[in-house]
């Protein structure tokens, strides 16, 4: 397939793996312990598992799967609030597909649907606005989720709803922003990450400047990367090259999509409609300052939290759950006490087992029959 297969070429992959091995040989640090590189974005996690990338890498390089899966980090209390909105009489709750299975403390949206709530899967917030136009007598609540990747589309939809004077449309806003969370991870004492593969789609919107602090203040290399397997390998090679030469800068591997300045029009729409919340709760990571978005006062009429009585439920993460430590790379998914026993994709306890982009679910799904690690003989033999 044109423009896809070129980025999955096994020969080029072998060349990049060779390059990575060469770099690893030059890095003294990894004689004592493996190098830890975090891919922040769930899309990268998905690609790494789907193409079997981890098992092609030399053992000196460990990929740590970061917090960039918006479905995974959604706290249970927010899901409960969303369910209660969906269960309001006369409501249509519109949501992206992978959010319907996320467990709340009582039920998921899928279970709410089975119990009679009108939950519709949409592919764009504009589909939700269309539902509102088609069902003028009902309230359509869009379950707005995601990082800066999906924020502009939500913002533009709100702007259009205002221009068209659609009054039966609102957002249950759970948009979050990645940068404060990267900082929170870097600030936790047990973390010893050596570099980052930076988010691609988020950066397409925000550009590369917001990551400068990673290099400047924390002296960690960060390379913004695309989502094809060769993108991931090339970005990893660029991170290692920085480590090998003692540099720490922000680099952009995903130039075909990401402009350094980001997308000004998208950012303008986001800033027009949204503002930062003082703090926002992340499943597995706790409360992080200035990490969540809400609608500005001027758009309060489109805010389901202001329009309706939302219970504002707070549910603590299950005690046994070690998602936070997995997210920070302190332990591997299979080292968690409940991985594969109390916590499985069918009955997820923790955030990371929820969506296929979550580190634990990806590991469980693609990882290994014993669920502990890939069986030795199944490892790829890459020259």
């Amino acid at each position: 397939m044109k423009y896809v297969d070129e980025f999955r070429d096994p020969d080029k992959a072998r060349a990049l793996i060779g390059e990575i091995r060469g770099l690893v040989a030059k890095i003294d640090l990894c004689r004592d312990r493996p190098l830890q590189v975090m891919e922040v974005c769930g899309g990268h996690t998905h690609a790494i598992f789907r193409y079997g990338i981890q098992h092609m890498l030399p053992p000196e390089v460990e990929l740590v799967h970061g917090p960039g899966c918006p479905v995974c980090v959604l706290p249970m209390g927010r899901v409960d609030d969303c369910v209660s909105l969906a269960e309001r009489p006369g409501t249509i709750l519109a949501t992206f597909g992978d959010a319907v299975r996320v467990p709340g403390s009582r039920k998921s949206l899928l279970q709410a649907k089975a119990d009679g709530a009108d939950v519709r899967i949409v592919y764009s917030p504009l589909d939700a606005l269309r539902l509102a136009r088609e069902n003028a007598e009902r309230e359509v609540v869009f379950f707005a989720l995601g990082f800066e990747t999906t924020m502009p589309a939500t913002a533009l939809t709100v702007l259009r709803a205002r221009a068209e004077e659609v009054r039966n449309f609102s957002l249950f806003c759970n948009h979050i922003t990645i940068v404060p969370t990267i900082k929170a991870i870097l600030d936790s004492p047990e973390v010893r990450l050596d570099g980052f593969i930076g988010p691609g789609h988020v950066s397409m919107v925000i550009g590369s400047a917001p990551y400068q602090f990673v290099a400047a203040s924390y002296r960690k290399p960060i390379v913004i990367a695309g989502f094809e397997p060769l993108d991931v390998l090339q970005a990893l090679s660029m991170v290692l090259a920085q480590i090998a030469s003692g540099r720490a800068v922000v680099e952009n591997q995903y130039r075909r999509v990401v402009a350094d300045a980001g997308n000004a029009a998208a950012l303008a729409a986001v800033h027009e409609v949204f503002e930062l919340r003082e703090f926002f709760e992340w499943r597995g990571l706790g409360s992080i300052d200035h990490s969540g978005m809400r609608l500005r006062e001027a758009y309060a009429g489109f805010d389901a939290e202001r329009k309706f009585a939302v219970p504002n439920t707070s549910v603590a993460d299950p005690k046994a759950c070690q998602c936070g430590e997995v997210l920070k790379g302190v332990i591997k998914p299979w080292q968690c006490k409940v991985f594969g026993t109390a916590c499985t994709p069918e009955t997820p306890l923790g955030a990371l087992m929820v969506s296929s982009e979550g580190a634990c679910a990806a590991h469980y799904q693609f990882g290994g029959s014993a669920r502990k690690s890939m069986p030795a003989h199944a490892k790829a033999s890459v020259p």
Partner: protein
């Protein structure tokens, strides 16, 4: 000669009403005019509560009866490459064929939502007739129910089927042995992709048609090449990945497949790329997975490619000893990963 009994009228109504399920003349007319007229065979035309089929003819075909049932609730009812009627016949024919049976007789039960268009019902019946003819089976008994608006989604169809398995033929999911070869009869995921496109949520346009087709002819050709096919499975819901996992689990064996050898149409790959789906999990309605002894693999593959339902057949992998109960995919990219059972339905990803 038509099998319609004398004195039975045409249905003049445009839509099905509760009266058509009441057991009276309206129902008799509906059954005769829509279903009898389409299926047209003397066993059905008796219009008794059961079909009678001779034992001697069945006994001559083999030594075991295969018996199956399946319900069809697809949305939309009509899609590129098929409709619910064609699906209902082929699905049950294929369920029988996967035991190695020669399918003989089907039943057809319909649950109709009031307000359903009679023309659509005729279309479904006609397509069941065509599918039954193509698969060389007869629809010999049936049932019609009409339910109130909202109690079902337009039309649900159930078909049950009877077939006969000849002696010596004994495929089973627990019979895969190390070294056996894994074959499929053609590109994966056409049905799932066609349904996804037909639902039109994404306004995708493509020329993907469902692979909905009977597989009994193909299976007969494969059994002629190798009567001792170890496993034979119809990769419907859950796709090829699910079938392979079930075989690996039942046979306590490992399965290794090569992504580069798995046939998938370009357009289906495109739909999967857009939605974040994996073609290995997409449902099929005319795709089978066969596990055959290594010495017969070439002959079976040739027999498959010589049959219209197996032109695109491919050898995609093999049975291995370890890790037991696990399916491993060698990716085109050069890595390896586990292909596990799907949890719930495949859902489009956010970003």
């Amino acid at each position: 000669m038509s099998a319609i009994p004398a004195g039975v009228g045409r249905v003049r109504a445009q839509t099905v009403t509760l009266a058509h399920g009441s057991g009276g003349r309206a129902m008799r007319n509906l059954i005769a005019d829509v279903f009898l007229r389409a299926f047209d065979n003397p066993t059905l035309a008796r219009l008794e509560d059961q079909a009678l089929v001779g034992l001697a003819k069945l006994a001559a075909l083999g030594d075991r009866l295969a018996f199956t049932t399946d319900s069809y609730v697809v949305t939309p009812l009509f899609f590129s490459g098929g409709d619910i009627g064609r699906l209902a016949v082929n699905g049950t024919v294929n369920d029988l064929a996967m035991s190695g049976a020669r399918p003989c007789f089907l039943s057809c039960s319909v649950v109709i939502e009031e307000g359903f268009a009679i023309d659509s019902l005729r279309r479904v019946a006609a397509s069941m007739r065509d599918a039954a003819r193509a698969a060389d089976v007869e629809i010999v008994t049936g049932d019609t129910k009409v339910v109130e608006r909202g109690a079902c989604d337009g039309l649900f169809v159930n078909t049950a089927g009877i077939g006969v398995v000849r002696s010596g033929v004994n495929p089973g999911s627990d019979r895969a042995r190390s070294g056996d070869q894994v074959l499929v009869n053609g590109p994966l995921g056409d049905h799932g992709a066609a349904i996804t496109v037909a639902r039109n949520d994404l306004a995708l346009q493509s020329d993907i048609a469902s692979d909905c087709k009977p597989l009994n002819g193909l299976v007969a050709a494969m059994l002629a090449a190798c009567p001792d096919i170890h496993c034979l499975r119809d990769a419907t819901r859950g796709g090829v990945a699910t079938v392979l996992n079930e075989i690996a689990e039942s046979s306590r064996a490992g399965i290794r497949i090569r992504e580069a050898a798995v046939p998938v149409r370009e357009a289906v790959r495109g739909v999967c790329e857009i939605l974040g789906f994996d073609p290995l999990y997409l449902p099929n309605e005319g795709t089978l997975v066969a596990v055959v002894p290594p010495e017969s693999a070439a002959a079976v593959l040739e027999a498959m490619r010589g049959h219209p339902a197996g032109r695109g057949a491919a050898l995609i992998g093999e049975i291995i000893d370890e890790p037991r109960g696990t399916v491993i995919l060698g990716t085109r990219f050069g890595g390896e990963r586990i292909v596990d059972m799907l949890v719930g339905a495949q859902l489009p990803r956010i970003c």
